[in-house]
Amino acid sequence: MVETDFLVIGGGPAGLSAALEASRRGVKTLVVDEGIEAGGQLLKQTHKFFGHEGFYASVRGFEIAKEILNSLGDNVDILTMTTVTGVYEDVITAYDRNADKMIEIKPRFTLIATGASERFIQFENNDLPGVYGAGAVQTLMNQYGVLPGERVLMIGSGNIGLIVSYQLLQAGAEVKAIVEIANKVGGYEVHANKIKRFGVPIILRHTIKKVVGDQRVEGAIIVEVDDEFNEIPGSEKELAVDTVCIATGLTPSIEIAAMAGVELQYIPELGGYVPYRDENMRTNISNLFIAGDVSGIEEATTAMIEGSIAGLVVASECKKLDLTEEIASMKKELSEFRSGPFSEKVRSGLKKFSIDYPTYSYRDSVQRQEPPKGKLVPVIECNQAIPCNPCQTSCPTGAITVSGNINSLPEIDYNKCVGCGVCVMKCPGLAIFMIQENAENNTDVVVIPWEFALPEKGEAVIALDKDGEPVCEGEIFKVVKSSNKTHLVYLKVPTGHGRSVRNFARLQREDNRYVCRCEEITEADIEKAIEQGFTDFEELRRYLRLGMGPCGGRTCRLNALSILARKTGKKISELGHGVFRPPAMPIKFESLLKGEKSHGE
């Protein structure tokens, strides 16, 4: 039997935040989590969070998990690979699957922070392997480093669908399309723009009708829908995909709360049945709290704030502390976060629990200055009121302002801007670029926030617009690496294109330009090996088997040498020619034996 002050069920953003606030104030806390490591969804989030820098804005989710875990002190014990299986009259039980045994827990206070589960949708063959939830894809891809497939169809354009699509691109998969049943994108525009500029289409008013395949997904048929979401016959289209990723929403994981006797209410705005709670995150049972997605589907920052509130309330009661101010300030934080248009659903849902938020005013439209020609300055393409302000707080010269409420749109004063690019690296939505029109020699400069494999300085690329359409040719002339992994890529394009170029595609040399026919080694193979460091001709030959085929290197030797010379900037004569070995043509064993007799015969 484990006795503890505070049992936290679920070590995700809400649970860990609660554990942090409570344990910091002396509350003995036990966190029980099912995962191989604690952190919940944070572990799978590779994007930078919105919000303000006091609440981890511009920090990537998995790094937030690390930060919180590192700041938990001795008062916290974490049991991973352990699932709470029941809230019984006598005890709460958990199953430790590592030790294969049950644990009985008697806490004074409990927080249920069990998160959410994914909604499954119905279409033909939706049970085939290759149809996965977005959370499963994230687990596999971002925790275990394994891709579920190569060509993905994403169902749903909410923030999860958009974010996971971007992550799939980063991991090297192809996202064929995102289909969205509604007539507009569900998630943030800035998230949508991140994938649109890679040419991934978001197909509105469409849904998936059927998966094709026998043993696993081999394709998917999508169909257009009318205003009532009815399929329009004859509008079917087949996409060649091997994976269908479903991101059509979440529903609170209420099982444990329900077993514990918490009142449930059906509130569609919060994602389905939700446990009752008050402003302090307390349920109808006085020592039982909930926080995070289980209390209503929202996102990780508000889950962390809710968890913090619960943790503070538990600390104040468990340790008899006056934390009125701290609790009030967290609540204010929460109400500010929830003041924007994207929180409208949550606000109306919470009203049903009599939780009301004041209305805040924020600036939701802005006439931004024209960027001055000839000067390298940021252009801010953030046009939706979302709670986020790192552009303002990171700007060293105070050129960017998010005035009043955090949901306000940022404004920029080009007189104060020095073109340092910090805002471009910080912006969680990757919605800030820099341009310099009429830079020099009839070129414009575009600076792109880049979270993919870095291009090389001097590399020729195809410049793309915001929809991933080719605009013109460009050249990479500078790459600034950033420790937060949003790097800056400086691109030169012909004058007049600076305003439209928002991305670039690296020239993919066709990989069927053969240098060595015997061993089927292409120009790209050779270039890749040289980039890996095989710059010594002899090592390069042996690494790739260049010249080890029956032709003895006749076809490839000089070509390989000239590629090596080009890549390394050396002269062919400096590189040497490698050795030549007999026989100069392939000779059969039996032909050899027909020649002159061997010695001694």
Partner: protein
Amino acid sequence: MGNDYRVVIIGGGIVGCAIAYHLTKLGEKSVAVFEKNYLSSGATGRCGGGIRQQWSSLNNVLLAMRSVKHFERFSEEVGMDIEYKQGGYLVLSYTDEEAVEFEKNVKMQREAGLKVEILSPKEVERRYPYINTEGVKMATFCQSDGHANPHLAAFGYARASQKLGADIFTHTKVVGLERLCDSRWIVHTTNGSVKADVVINAAGAFSREVGKLAGVDLPTESYRHQIFVTEPLKDFFDPMAISFSGNYYMRQTKHGNFVMGQGDADEKAGINYSVTFRFEKELSRKMARIFPFLRKLRIIRHWSGHYNMSPDAQPIIGESPSVRGYYYAVGFSGHGFMLAPAVGEAIAEMILYGKAAHVDVSDLNVQRLKGGVVKEKNVV
């Protein structure tokens, strides 16, 4: 080039690279490798690539068994696919005396924990219908033996050690070693000089010369060995086939080519990179008889390398008893590739912990050669 290292390794073959890898993996980042030519340019890149555990001396068996453990995880651990295949070594005997020896060896090998089978000529024929067993008295077979691509193995170790912090300098020849009064070394190279606490001779065919730089007399001699390779066929030939009494070895590479060679008792000591047609004729005559499918196959490339022989055909490994801070891993006698992973590990452990932790190599230092030698017989 840094100018101060804890460990300097002379030789960028499989042995030098394996030592560099194991040192850096165990946390010693201050490591430099000097290779006078390119990586794997010596015997490593010229060898047959076999990985065998069936030896007549227990030391070699144990070292080889430990190496196989490393080869089995090489691709994952080091991050390079080295075309490793455990298709077994089929060791064919053509004399009664050798057959008796083999039975003794197998007993010893089995006691060391190796799974070895004794096969009758009939059984050999049943398993490998493409081998002509005429004259074969018996054979032994160990499934966990195999082969790999030695270039890639050396490159893999080199790259991985560089990632972990080692510096590797190719086309940089060590031309002098100077002892300082604080017992450190100055290593003079064709591209400048560096200081080092420890110098390791992993110079393969050139081990004796590199020994002399430090005043250490290593009783090794290098002998040319020739080898050739055929055009590829479909992959069907699983084992490495070898015979000491028959004097040959052959394997099929992952790419389908057959690599084969034999020893030559008339070879004189010394460095010689040329090749002889006599070798091609003799070996093709013999091999076409034993492996009839070769008759129609073409030889595409023929080259030579060197066995750095020790008096008992076993490697010489350890720290010089007379010159402290000078280590060597030399005299592999044609078997450096297959023993390198375990030897690299042992040398790294000796330097860092004073003693090899996985395989006892204390019998392999140069002192053993003072009295009479017991020669390793399983050598082609």
